[in-house]
């Protein structure tokens, strides 16, 4: 961090509402029994895949009892063509949303999640010609509205049913965010707050009231990352946004902001180069967080309470690290272990020590966690795999060749309502997940 956070001038939201809403999200870690706990109570958007990295921003679906002990069937429900974009597919209330670039423009679109039929599309602005993979940012939804960030840094709130514009901000004009083409970050929707990370000479983080679009709080400062995305965690009892830092010397770091008012709670600059990436920070059990960087995964522990909260480096491992992908999910945490990609290997690390338990060469990809299983989308082979999230060893439980080998898929899977939604450079596919039928 460059200097301490300025004191917040106001606390414009009823803090309790924020805390309650977000606590609900955090509980919905579902299969991830590390967080909070309790039976998931799927309702509305949270039951689906409402934003980048899923309902709790930890790569885990909230659903339980998806997979039995027996064979797993992956059955294609629909398939359709898609314009360029690596933005993840988000699903709520029977609708699937994402961003794409085609015909010279960048747009948000909504599909019927049951059929793949287009419901609406809304142009965000001209597309960025230098961006070979189209659009990167993943929108967020509460089921009523869709919040989309264009690569030119325009933030739009659209009606989820019609695509009608509710409010918008030009983050470049208003907050000097940019440059154009650089806004790859995926907004965090937590309760009534929409938290957006920006690279600007003035601000690092902007938090808007999701309903009105009014700026609720912001974190001043320069540098920052326009590519990584804020995650959400409850650490030492405080709900906070955990973000990647990029220091002036190019080294990475992590910091935590109190979600209610944006107060800087802790920060930890990393000492070595290449210690950043485009990844979202990963929550680990026991007041710990990790960041998958270009040179490895780095776990830190948060010690102390309140204003005395301090981050301590815990372990690092090169067996999980970010690779060529523009933005991706490289790791998830489950049952005291971290599963993730390091180059061509999928690895299982002990979350307490960082020790490698096993690694398997399955070539680069992205992954999410669904009901105790890893759902892995290969980057180049066209395969989607279901792999048991267990330290006992690599166990592939199902696989399907969903896309043409050689066609890049740089979008992690999404899971909603017993369905996997997958995207590559050409297509979007919906797969039903279940036991083999007759």
């Amino acid at each position: 961090m460059n200097g301490a956070a300025a004191p917040r001038a106001r606390l414009p939201l009823p803090a309790l509402a924020v805390v309650l809403g977000v606590a609900g999200l955090l509980r919905l870690a579902g299969g991830a029994r590390d967080t909070a706990a309790g039976a998931a109570t799927p309702d509305g958007a949270a039951a689906g895949w409402p934003q980048w990295s899923g309902p709790a921003r930890n790569g885990a679906a909230s659903a339980t009892r998806v997979f039995g002990r027996g064979a797993i069937r992956l059955r294609e429900v629909w398939r359709r063509s898609a314009d360029a974009g690596v933005s993840a597919l988000i699903v709520a209330g029977g609708r699937l949303f994402s961003l794409a670039a085609g015909g010279g423009s960048e747009y948000a679109f909504a599909l019927d999640a049951d059929t793949g039929r287009t419901l609406w599309r809304v142009t965000l602005g001209p597309s960025e010609p230098s961006l070979r993979f189209g659009v990167v940012s993943t929108p967020a939804t509460d089921g009523r509205r869709l919040f989309a960030l264009s690569t030119a840094c325009k933030l739009l709130a659209l009606d989820a049913a019609s695509g009608e514009l509710a409010w918008q901000h030009d983050l470049r004009a208003e907050f000097k965010a940019g440059p154009p083409g650089s806004c790859w970050t995926s907004p965090l929707l937590a309760g009534d707050l929409l938290v957006v990370q920006v690279k600007s000479p003035e601000r690092r983080v902007l938090a808007f009231n999701a309903a009105s679009g009014a700026l609720t709080w912001s974190l001043p400062g320069s540098e920052g990352s326009a590519h990584s995305s804020p995650s959400l965690a409850q650490i030492a009892g405080v709900i906070q946004a955990v973000l990647e830092d990029i220091q002036a010397d190019g080294h990475g770091g992590l910091y935590g902001l109190r979600l209610a008012d944006g107060a800087l709670l802790w920060s930890l600059p990393f000492a070595d180069p290449e210690s950043y990436s485009f990844d979202i920070p990963l929550q680990l059990p026991g007041d710990r967080v990790a960041l998958v960087t270009w040179n490895g995964i780095r776990a830190v522990a948060l010690r102390g309470q309140g204003a005395g909260l301090a981050a301590v480096p815990l372990w690092t491992s090169r067996d999980i690290r970010a690779e060529i992908q523009p933005v991706n999910l490289h790791a998830v945490a489950y049952g005291g272990h971290v599963y993730g990609f390091g180059g061509e290997f999928l690895s299982c690390l002990d979350a307490a020590t960082g020790r490698t338990v096993w690694k398997e060469k399955i070539y680069p990809g992205s992954l999410i966690l669904v009901d105790g299983q890893l759902v892995v989308q290969s980057r180049g082979s066209g395969l989607v795999r279901v792999v048991a999230a267990t330290p006992a060893g690599y166990q592939e439980r199902a696989r399907a060749e969903v896309f043409t080998p050689g066609a890049l898929s740089q979008t992690p899977p999404s899971f909603a309502g017993r369905r996997l939604f997958l995207r590559n450079v050409d297509e979007i596919v919906a797969l039903d997940v279940g036991a083999p039928g007759p």
């Binding site: 069937r73 992956l74 059955r75 294609e76 629909w78 398939r79 359709r80 063509s81 898609a82 314009d83 794409a100 085609g102 679109f109 793949g116 039929r117 287009t118 599309r121 010609p129 230098s130 070979r132 180069p273 290449e274 270009w294 040179n295 970010a322 690779e323 060529i324 992908q325 180059g343 061509e344 399955i362 070539y363 680069p364 990809g365 290969s378 980057r379 180049g380 082979s381 066209g382 395969l383 199902a398 696989r399 399907a400 060749e401 969903v402 043409t404 080998p405 050689g406 066609a407 890049l408 450079v425 050409d426 297509e427």
Partner: protein, 439 residues
Amino acid sequence: MHADRAKRSQRSAGRELFRRLLPLALFAVLSHAGGGFAQSGRSLEPADWPGLWGPDRTARVAGPLQILPTVQLKEVWRRPIGKGFSEVAVAGGRGYTMFSEADVDYLGAFDVATGKEIWRRRLEATYHGHDGSLDGPISTPVLAGGRLFALTPWGKLFAVEQATGREVWRLDLKADLGAAAPFWGFATSPLPLGGILVVQAGGATSNSLVALDPASGKLVWSAHPASGTGYSSPVAMTLQGVPQIVAATQDKVFAVRPVDGAVLWSAPSLGETRQSPVSLPGDRVLLTNWYETAVLQVKSDGGAWGVRELWRKPVFKTTYSPAVYRQGYLYGMNGNFLTCLDVETGETKWREKIYNAALLLAGGYLAALGEQSGDFRLVEASPEGFRQRLKARIFTPGALSMTGPMFVSGRFLLRNGEEMVLLELAPAETAAGAARNGS
């Protein structure tokens, strides 16, 4: 979004993805005629492959073509190899390349007929991929006068004996020549030419391009018409009847005289690229990078050199191998599309989605190795349209293949970061039973 595509039939889960060698409907016997399109006039033994992108660094080899009725693709041998993107230099039945194993970068020699390793020499610790790049050597070693010259990603240039791998001399491009380390590591391949070894050192304030004495490593001449190294390699070409060395950096494309490094001409480049300038007939030079393609016309009028851009288009978003020229047309990858352009206008003749691949023109065929699919294809190099004559899965899908196909004694030599394979096109009756199935 386009209109919904008809739902495809469900592909079976658990479908085998291991490499398969397909029976072929047609067979092209490619016999190496040597010399390539040697505008530089250098000759080539049929069994040689002088490293990066073939005889003229244009990814082209000549060869008459015979079409037989039925054939198969025969795998002569397959062996594991460490990580890296270096191509293989072949001479006298031996192949030389770099690879990384257990965090050490090696230069190694192997027997091309069998794939068996002959020697390996430790170079230095592996340059680890960072910011999205991958581990391993990038540059391709070159051969001259019984010696082998290899540049590591750290910028150490090794000269070793071809027969044994014994070190003769070494040079540190950073310490000895003031080179600025490229962000992703040194990737350029040296160019042996006559009695000199030309290296795009990329010195910050001098030594952009240098000529070394292959015997001693001592500096013969130095040119500095441009700053910034980029990742491309110098190329020998003859323009307006004058032999010259052409190189592209982040800011300039320029030509120097081989004899003393005197700058003949210079023009703005397309920016950072791994691509080298490609010589085209009619004293033209093709430039490509990740975003666009340009064709330059080079003229010499009484000793005064001039460069004019004929066209520039946002096509051929090439990655790791050059676009290739044949009979008035250019063939290259434009993102996921194999694309044929009219060299005069830059107009697209046809395009076909085969996903990113590295290309080599062998005879009248484009050999394409898929970057992610592991598929090897032979496609007719014709402006009439996309005609694929062969497709076979050689490497595991998902494993990255960024090294272009190589052509040795009428056979295709392929490598990625884990395997090396020698492929032969043979009549079906002799190939039957020899073709390898499964993993």
